[in-house]
Amino acid sequence: MRFLSNGFYQAVVGIVQTHFERFGVGPSGPMDLRAYRLNHLILGNREEKKVLEMTGLLPTIGFEEAVSCVVTGKPVKIVCDGHLIPMCRSFDVLPGSVLSFERLENGGWTYFGVGGGIEEISGRQVRLKAPTLNGWVSFLPDDLYREAPKDEPIRVVAGPEWDWFDSRAQEAFLNQNYRVDSIDRMGYRLQGKPILLRKPRELISSPVSTGTVQVTGSGQPVVLMAGRQTIGGYPRIAFVSPSDLSRLSQTGEGEIVRFRKTSIEEAEQDWKAENEQLLRLAQILKNQRTSLLFSASVQVSDRRFYVQMTR
């Protein structure tokens, strides 16, 4: 497959198995881990397979091979050979097919995956690992997969320097509306009423994690994301519960974020529950596939219908 037109940002992302943070190498990997995992579940790919992460103006893709595809993450209008394609639902393309997307206006991350995974981008050419055509449509059962409402607060756990802030600053952190000021893979800068340290104090550089909320000298929080560095010198007031990090990653510039405090034990429980839900989804999708007897797509004027017969 190849880019007929380039987007603003498109990169091949995967979960890196080596742990080299002690050498200053950040974790990298997808910004929205949940969308990344769903992409794999729907296609039946193993978790280490790579996908395309995109934001802003998205590329137009031309295909030279028959392969099954899916788009997850930030919802975007998708058109393939003149047909509208829904998010989170696999579809097959053939040699000569053209896929285009609407622009993502104020941020967010969209993931494009193919059966067998994406290998690498070289120039405009995108090398695929071992293109597979599933010949069936996989989709997420709506009643089993629901996103949390948008205005729900983002859950955070107290960080190592939580006590460097007095109770007024802590309350201000938890009770105000933050506006997302700028977004990149390294971190999200938030803008609100400044929160100040109890007394001026310098942190001796210390390791950070994905989701760490640092408070800079001006009293504004920065949430560190997948492209982060490994150590930092700003007080770490809190960290985002990983169950809410995907939702935060999809918050656009100018949108409002609120925080709510949770405990480490609750955050562990929530994360466990989320992972169990994904396992259940994996099982359901697998059953969808194994119970399939017959599958075809039918073109009626400008609409395409999928016909599947199951056991």
Partner: protein, 242 residues
């Protein structure tokens, strides 16, 4: 010693909040012990000046279970020392285009550029942490006399290999990047390669000395480094020149 969560996959162990050799040795000793203990779920120990972060798989072990394991392990560590090797020698071309902030920095310190260089060369440094960029070593402690704040406006582009100072630290940029430290020289050495294991010339806890070189020598070393197998060559370089 305090143990606190720093991310659901990060357990932070804090020692006395001081930049001091004795504290750093305790950090590395515990990191070593953890590496050897093979605790379930632990993926990596990331040391810094006076803290150690354990990256772990939270679906395999909870924060409270891991804290307990660390406390037990800590109780078992004897007073032994971490083995310390000979210093690594790093060639530096000081001043000129290689170190555009040398003259200004010397002025602020009330020193001549030559005096600043001599002071920078006189110290055996220790790698207190690696971070900011892959392979960027935080070297300490810089002599008090050379302690200057970072530049007010960071540079958009710092050349690869730049040797820089800030506060009581000196560091080397492994690749071109933005940066706010004051640039006093440049090394022809490579510091990082994604295809090697370990991928860095330095490891936290290593000792480092700088050696002044002229332009001809700088270019010779750079040419040699480009020929490949640079990590071996760079580690031996100090012995070759001695």
């Amino acid at each position: 010693m305090r143990i606190v969560p720093c991310g659901l996959d990060g357990l932070l162990i804090e020692f006395r909040s001081k930049i001091r050799l004795s504290v750093h040795r305790r950090v590395l000793r515990l990191a070593d012990a953890i590496d050897n203990a093979g605790i379930r779920g632990v993926q990596e120990a990331i040391p810094s000046y006076c803290s150690l972060l354990l990256r772990y798989e939270p679906l395999m072990i909870s924060f409270s279970e891991l804290s307990r394991e660390i406390r037990i392990l800590k109780g078992r560590i004897g007073p032994g020392t971490v083995s310390e090797e000979n210093p690594l020698y790093i060639p530096v071309l000081y001043g000129g285009a290689a170190g555009p902030d040398l003259i200004d920095s010397a002025k602020v310190c009330h020193l001549s550029p030559e005096q600043l260089i001599t002071k920078h060369l006189s110290t055996v440094y220790r790698v207190y942490a690696i971070g900011f960029l892959p392979g960027f070593p935080y070297l300490g402690l810089l002599p008090k006399k050379l302690s200057l704040p970072r530049l007010e406006t960071p540079r958009k582009r710092v050349a690869k290999g730049s040797v820089a100072i800030a506060n009581r630290q000196t560091g080397i940029y492994p690749r071109e990047s933005p940066g706010g430290w004051r640039l006093i020289g440049r090394t022809p050495f490579e510091l990082f390669s994604g295809s090697e294991d370990p991928p860095t010339l330095f490891q936290t806890g290593d000792t480092v000395r700088f050696v002044a070189v002229d332009e001809t020598e700088f270019e010779n070393i750079r040419a040699r480094v480009a020929r490949g197998n640079w990590m071996r060559y760079e580690k031996d370089w100090g012995q070759i020149t001695e």
